[in-house]
Symmetry: C2
Subunit: 286 residues, 2 copies
């Protein structure tokens, strides 16, 4: 017997990176993190901040796909930040680890305290976030660690998006994944900070209500909101907000069907081909 | 030569009702009005208010499909209200005319003035609206009559949705059609007045951004927002917010293909089969 918490090591992106995660408790990364990571594009030494990074799934997916990106993971929970540090210590992640940093920080800090925590004004090219989903009114989870990751305090989007607006360079992009009922709070929080908001519904199955939205916006832009196509895969390279605009079921089928050497599908495969048990159980068709 | 403004008489719903409209100026009804009308369902003497009714296309489409519905058209422009009255005077509309009333009224009135204008508190089961689309920042149209119909003053959704909330019975439904960039204003205006907001993106072609959203909400409901499937036609009878959840291109193809005797498609055909020149030019495939 040991006091160390139970953990698993899961392979993502066909083994291009691995993730240390709590087992049987806490938030475990899956489709949401990979969808979020798919929103980041660019070349060179792109500075990416992952707010509320958990064990680091989304940030590491970005670092794995974009070979020069420098990723900062911000996580308030000491437990989850520790999983992220264990993740970076894995020998399988040696090639990425030099480009990824972990900051134990509350992303809702303001002013000097926020800067001191590593959330430096104007520093980042891209900010990604997968904020806690469940509203306070939801049933309480008996799992305290999962509770912190899943609870959605009042003003959450205002606080998180305020920080994203502060730490992005002008013209930098924020991307997030959320539940559809948060659209109003997201639009309100973008306010005058962001423009060009693009919202992409994500449907688990064709004909069903969206279970998530992907949203991206550009700091200082004055462009209007647009609502992207949700469930088509045209084969074209999609524009910035959605490299992944199909249902997860469709995607899973495509992934199984696509030839590994097809460059057109590299992005898709890179974003979605997940070998961890969670994905096998919940996303990939049997 | 005559001083009477040019007008056309257009057949809708395969001739089940006709509409008198300005020709070459003013707002002409088409797909938007029919999509909006498709949101209304129910039986018996359903009381329906059409805010900003123009010549009455959406309201008449509802009266034509729901044989006992009583429809009140509210229109501020004397010119457009006159077209609506001419519409009701057509011999082709004789069967409907007894169930449709025209009120020349500003839907943004408040309190006693609003009630005096026919916008009576708690009176209606369903309120539909197709508010002016173009924001003040848009290019000015040289056509003054069209300008009034298309201009979107500050606070428009707040003012229109406030009136909808006042004149609906508790549990009554509001439905509207708008541009995607208005989602934030719509959600904010629903506030505590409405719940169960359902947003359905409408795409002209698969894979393109939505060009319209359909939204419905229930007075006094506390249900959360949902984002409906946008571009599938499952063949099932859809739930309240969207009898029409496919792209217009898909719909046009379906309409051409469907057997007239198929009851499953009655709603769809009823909502979309438009014989007016506008629809032939803009929606139906050549």
């Amino acid at each position: 017997m040991t006091d160390a918490p139970a953990r698993t090591v899961d392979a993502f992106h066909r083994g291009r990176f691995h993730l240390v995660q709590p087992c049987g408790r806490g938030h475990r990364a899956g489709m949401d993190a990979m969808l979020l990571a798919s929103m980041v594009d660019g070349s060179g030494r792109l500075r990416v901040a992952d707010l509320g990074a958990g064990a680091g799934a989304a940030g590491l997916a970005v670092a794995s796909r974009l070979g020069e990106a420098e990723v900062s993971l911000f996580e308030m929970s000491p437990d989850m930040a520790d999983y992220a540090r264990q993740t970076l210590g894995l020998s399988q992640n040696a090639e990425l680890a030099g480009r990824v940093s972990v900051y134990e920080a509350d992303v809702t800090l303001k002013g000097a305290a926020r800067n001191a925590a590593g959330l430096v004004d104007g520093r980042f090219d891209h900010v990604i976030m997968n904020p806690p989903f469940n509203e306070a009114a939801d049933r309480r989870t008996p799992d305290a660690l999962k509770g912190v990751a899943h609870a959605m305090p009042e003003g959450l989007f205002e606080n998180w998006i305020r920080t994203a607006g502060a730490i992005l360079r002008p013209g930098g992009q924020m991307s997030l994944i959320a539940r559809p009922q948060s659209i109003g709070a997201i639009i309100a929080a973008c306010g005058n900070r962001f423009g060009g908001l693009e919202i992409t519904p994500v449907h688990a199955r064709q004909g069903e209500d969206a279970f998530r939205v992907l949203a991206s916006a550009v700091k200082g832009s004055r462009a209007r909101l647009s609502l992207r196509a949700s469930s088509s895969c045209t084969g074209r390279k999609a524009t910035r907000s959605c490299r992944m605009s199909m249902t997860s079921t469709m995607a899973a089928h495509l992934i199984r069907a696509m030839p590994p050497e097809d460059p057109q599908f590299f992005e898709l495969r890179s974003c979605l081909y997940l070998s961890c048990a969670y994905m096998r159980r919940n996303v990939l068709p049997r």
